[in-house]
């Protein structure tokens, strides 16, 4: 029973954005699940709703955005029903989030060690000296050389890679079971990026933490994720095991994304099939495929009917009319009970 219950299960989540231009559904009936110890790669263009989905899980959506439907089950509890105080206890201990690299992910005025130690103090009521010792141990654990010295440094004295390692230490301090990583290596050079992902996978195998990896980089996903969910304009359009997605992409959007990667081992030119731009979310109608304007295989039906979810192979499902099937018309991934 337990083995089948995913740690995180997002069911039919919708998020609305209410701004000057009007109201837009930036996340539309999205479903996904992450099992314990699993890495799910959530891939999509800027503005596709990946970060909004993640922020909804943490209940840290910006003021203009609000959840308008669905459930977010974290270890069986619907986080959308929790009070702010209950939610605060959950953050850090059950779920934590690494944000995009920038020099300001850590408070410029506090020593690195203190920022980690504070998490112990908040969640575990640890005394200052014990918390500091554990912070140093954690810095050592995330691969920072000379952790004692670094713990007494200020963030501006660290390199970008070290800041990101320190941030991972902050986030892992209270041993969350789910770690959301939103473009954790943007702005880092490739070598550092590899090191950060190595670190994340080490931490995963040690602590069995589940990771929701948000990125627009397919390469990152190919090497680091167990399963992939492709997101386009607020919809998840395809989901499945990483191998299956990369070997047999079904959705025209996924195919376009994969074929837009230039290859150097063949002579064929990169034939990017991806036309146009991501649709303007403020003008989208509910009952149609949101990819239709860019789709090379668009049909009549795509213009006025929401696509069905079709399971094409085990655990691999696609949100598209091309594959027929009168399967359930809502939801993304279905949880296998």
């Amino acid at each position: 029973m337990r083995a089948n219950t995913p740690l995180l299960s997002v069911e039919d989540l919708s998020v609305d954005l209410d701004v000057f231009r009007g109201r837009a559904r930036v996340v539309d009936r999205v479903s996904l699940h992450v099992a314990e110890g699993e890495v799910l790669g959530l891939v999509g263009e800027s503005g596709s709703g990946k970060s909004m989905t993640a922020m909804a899980v943490l209940r840290l959506l910006p003021h203009a955005a609000s959840v308008s439907g669905g459930r977010i089950l974290l270890d069986g509890t619907d986080v959308l029903t929790l009070s702010e105080a209950q939610m605060r206890r959950l953050r850090g201990r059950q779920v934590a989030m690494i944000f995009q690299t920038s020099l300001l992910v850590l408070n410029p005025l506090l020593r690195v060690g203190d920022q980690i130690a504070r998490v112990f103090e908040i969640h575990l009521g640890t005394t200052k000296s014990v918390a500091h010792a554990r912070a140093v141990a954690l810095l050592d654990r995330v691969g920072i050389r000379n952790p004692e010295r670094v713990s007494r440094s200020y963030p501006h004295e660290l390199s970008g890679g070290m800041v990101q390692r320190a941030l991972i230490a902050v986030m892992m301090a209270a041993q969350p079971r789910l770690l959301i990583a939103d473009e954790p290596t943007t702005g880092l050079d490739v070598t550092t990026e590899v090191q950060i992902f190595d670190l994340l996978s080490e931490i995963r195998s040690e602590t069995n933490v589940a990771i929701l990896l948000i990125t627009h980089d397919l390469g990152t996903v190919a090497t680091n994720a167990d399963r992939v969910a492709i997101m386009h304009a607020g919809h998840i359009v395809e989901t499945g095991p990483t191998r299956s997605i990369f070997k047999q992409p079904k959705h025209p959007y996924t195919r376009a994304l994969l074929s837009s990667i230039p290859r150097f081992d063949t002579n064929s030119p990169a034939d990017s099939q991806l036309r146009g731009q991501a649709p303007d979310i403020f003008t989208l109608r509910a009952d149609r495929c949101r990819f239709v304007d860019r789709c090379p295989a668009a049909m009549e039906i795509c213009l006025d009917q929401r696509p069905p979810w079709v399971e094409v192979s085990e655990g691999h499902a696609v949100f598209c009319h091309l594959f027929g099937g009168a399967v359930a018309s809502t939801g993304g991934e279905r949880v296998v009970d």
Partner: protein, 294 residues
Amino acid sequence: MATRVIAPERNEPSWGRHRSGYVWYTIRRSVSAQFGLVLLAAVLLVAVAGPAVWSADPAATSSNTLASPSLSLPFGSDQYGRDILSRVLNGIRIDIAIAVFVAVLATAVGAVLGVLAGYVGGWVEQLVMRLTDVMLAFPGFILALAIAAFLGNDIRNVILAIGIAYTPVMIRLVRGHALSLRSASFILSSRAVGAPRWWIMLFHVLPNTVSPILVQTTLFLAWAVLDTAGLSFIGVGIRPPTPELGSMTAEGAAFMVSGAWWYAVLPGIVIMLIVLSFNLVGDAVRDILDPQSH
């Protein structure tokens, strides 16, 4: 005249441990900062040691009224024959003490309300900011005058009146910085690991607004000396016989026409020197904490 050319690499100011080097660097470069510091040191020295060194009783009257400055009465005497130098020395103490209390009061209340308004938002912000708007509709001095007139004039009420009048300035300033910090990613990170709101305000928002707060506090000191003297000058501040510099200039002004210039002018010059020293040091503090501002 030879110009000193100092062209070192412009050190980017950094947080924390390299700060002290930057302090000296700024002071070394700035003649006005040096002058201000020396003047402030002199003023503080006089405030602390003055009455002990020149121990004449500021309240003792004598028959030697309106005596012009001499060796035994360096600042002359007033219409009751009191020693003006002794009264000025005590007045410096009183005026600086009032200024410090005013600055601390306005800074503490303003910073707390400003952080709350900026970070918490919602009805807290609406309430605080609308009150602030109403208060800022009046010039600070007029507001202080009204509050002092309402409360009645003694030293405590003067401090309250001026402190309350300055508070909205600090609220505005701090709220603006807190607002911009609300979306800073380290605050988001902190929320993502479950830090409570008061914790974020205390350890993240407040420390990151300390620089502008300190700069404004030094300005408050200068304003407060001037406004205390101003309130006393027009009669709603500290009342005679307390030796306060503003009320001394007011009293002395009546004797200007009869030639007793020292009675009003010397306390006036002392007020000016105190304000000047606070302002120059305030400018230096700003240059150290916020190098982009000039």
